[in-house]
Amino acid sequence: MDARDQQDFDQFMAGRWPGLVRLAYGLTGDRWLAEDLAQSALASAYAAWWRVSRADDPDAYVRRILINASKRRFRRRRVPESLHELAEFPDTGTADPADRVGDRAALLAALRELPPRQRAIVVLRYWEDLSDAQVAAVLGCSAGTVRSQASRAIAKLRGSTTLLEGNTR
């Protein structure tokens, strides 16, 4: 990697870090894992920067690396994931009343009940605000699949108190 590529990558990395960590947080609900996934995705991008930088959409490329890593992690991990860190280590810099911590944890827990692909679709569609076509490109499926899976995910989430509470607030 020459100096120019290094500079380009550094700019890319600095610009994408917060977004990638938040995306990973939406997928995992875990601060440490979110940062590790984001770091892993950026490291892979660094290693293949010649390929990533020439991609039509480098952001989609890196999101795809991150989501693939996340999906595989969930597929292989059996131990129930703990949400204790939310209460133990509340996010810094944000006025977050204590009574909302459990509420947030409940939403993340509801998300984690979804299958990995549905969870990824929900986070990409409603947090990243990507179009169905963009989500499809990231996940390597059709836009129709995105729509149908999103619909199923919403139906599942509708049954959770989290969404209802949000609806009545």
């Binding site: 990697m1 550094d10 990395m13 600095a14 870090w17 917060p18 960590v21 938040r22 947080y25 939406g26 875990d30 601060r31 440490w32 894992l33 979110a34 940062e35 590790d36 984001a38 770091q39 950026l42 490291a43 892979s44 991008a45 660094y46 290693a47 293949a48 920067w49 010649w50 390929r51 490329y61 690396i65 693939n68 890593a69 595989r72 992690r73 597929r75 292989r76 991990r77 059996r78 131990v79 996010d91 810094t92 810099g93 944000t94 947030r104 939403l107 929900v122 986070v123 409603y126 947090w127 605000d129 619909s151 919403i154 139906a155 989430l157 509708r158 989290t162 969404l163 949000g166 609806n167």
Partner: protein
């Protein structure tokens, strides 16, 4: 689904995820980790005319698709490798075998997870040095992942490669450094309820520059893999950058990382955790620490191994600028329920295990001046069934 639901969900996600603040960008750690991945791809250990000449003697060279296969004897000087005819019915998931400098080598698909229902398929070289397999290649005529092991452990000067292909691919021609071509036939291996079509070969010097796939019933090429430029270019060896026995997977997007925090805690004023990543960089343990406004992470990668009979313990680094902790983590036999760690200050600690992909891991971090002396493994009935005093030294 109605628009109200969607709007509410959007707002709730923005509340929850938007309120989450990422920690500081670990720019150096990202670059280091990226360089480790890249360096492994570029690393090459054998060069020179002798090795290149020896490559001519490698078995089963092809002039093109359909060329006759033959075995060449090892050359008298330098290194030599051979490739056996593939045996679709070979036991133990073996899909490629041969010799390297007269010593046998074999590539096989094995389950490296614990007992059923867990199953995690990986390609193992001689029963060690695994590379986790991704999903079977979806397109029948395509080349999926291509992986290189720069140097076969115990067989210096020789490397190994395997290729995952679609079900319709019947033969491959690998163009090695120097332009020589090798004809390889893929074999279908079933593991973990999946069918993988794999081909493997050994090589001298610096791997393959191109791999071309052909299908039955047509002479045409169905898929071409070109090794990205620079991957096998010789470069100065960087100590610590190359983990011997770790495969270089060429397919990044299909990477097979599984990550988990295996232990965390707070020692003094330092928050720390040890995480494990199983995937393209091998079996990596990372120690992360946060103290005041300082934070950092250090990582140690090792080859992927099957579950041990006892414990395969590794030293885990922590960033020296943040912490003086010493970390240990390891893979334990699936029978393990918990462990007791005896420290040099006379205290003992009970260590939990965590399942990641059906593999059980444990870990601990200890403060400066204290050493880990002994680990004892207990089963679900509380019986100690193994103990070790062989503790890896720190660096």
């Amino acid at each position: 689904m109605n628009s109200t639901d969607e709007q509410v969900l959007r707002e709730r996600l923005h509340e929850v995820i938007g309120a989450f603040e990422a920690g500081p960008l670990p720019a150096n750690a990202v670059r280091r980790r990226g360089k480790t991945i890249r360096t492994r791809r570029r690393a090459s250990t054998v060069s020179g005319a002798a090795a290149l000449a020896a490559v001519v003697a490698v078995a089963t060279w092809a002039q093109g698709p359909g060329a006759s296969r033959r075995h060449a004897p090892p050359v008298a000087s330098g290194h030599s490798v051979t490739l056996n005819e593939p045996d679709p019915g070979a036991p133990g998931g073996v899909f490629a075998s041969g010799t390297a400098d007269g010593k046998p080598w074999k590539l096989a698909v094995a389950n490296i997870a614990g007992p059923a229902p867990w199953c995690l398929p990986a390609v193992m070289l001689n029963g060690h040095d695994g590379d986790i397999l991704g999903a079977p290649t979806p397109s029948p005529l395509a080349i999926g992942n291509v992986a290189f092991l720069t140097e076969m452990p115990g067989r210096p000067g020789t490397g190994s490669a395997f290729v995952q292909v679609g079900t319709g691919v019947t033969r491959l021609v690998a163009t090695l450094s120097g332009g020589l071509r090798l004809l390889v036939h893929p074999v279908t291996v079933s593991r973990c309820g999946q069918r993988f079509r794999l081909a493997g070969f050994a090589y001298l010097e610096a791997g393959a520059t191109k791999i071309v796939a052909y299908s039955a019933g047509q002479r045409g090429i169905t898929s071409v893999f070109s090794t990205p430029p620079g991957i096998f270019r010789l470069h100065p060896y960087q100590p610590g950058a190359l983990a011997s026995g770790v495969w270089d997977d060429m397919e990044i997007v299909g990477g097979s990382d599984a990550s988990a925090v295996i232990v965390s805690g707070r020692t003094g004023g330092t928050r720390w955790h040890i995480s494990m990543t199983l995937g393209g960089s091998g079996q990596c343990y990372a120690g992360a620490a946060e103290r005041g406004n300082s934070s950092g992470q250090a990582q140690e990668c090792l080859p992927i191994e099957a579950a041990p009979r006892g414990v395969a313990l590794a030293w885990v680094p922590f960033p020296a600028s943040v912490s003086t902790l010493t970390g240990y983590a390891g893979l334990v036999t699936p029978r393990t329920r918990y462990l007791m760690a005896r420290l040099s200050d006379g205290t003992t600690r009970r260590l939990a295990t965590i399942d990641v992909g059906g593999r059980k891991y444990t870990g601990l971090a200890i403060g400066r001046g204290t050493r880990l002396v002994r680990l004892t493994l207990y089963d679900a009935a509380g019986h100690a069934f193994a103990t070790t005093t062989s503790i890896p030294p720190g660096k």
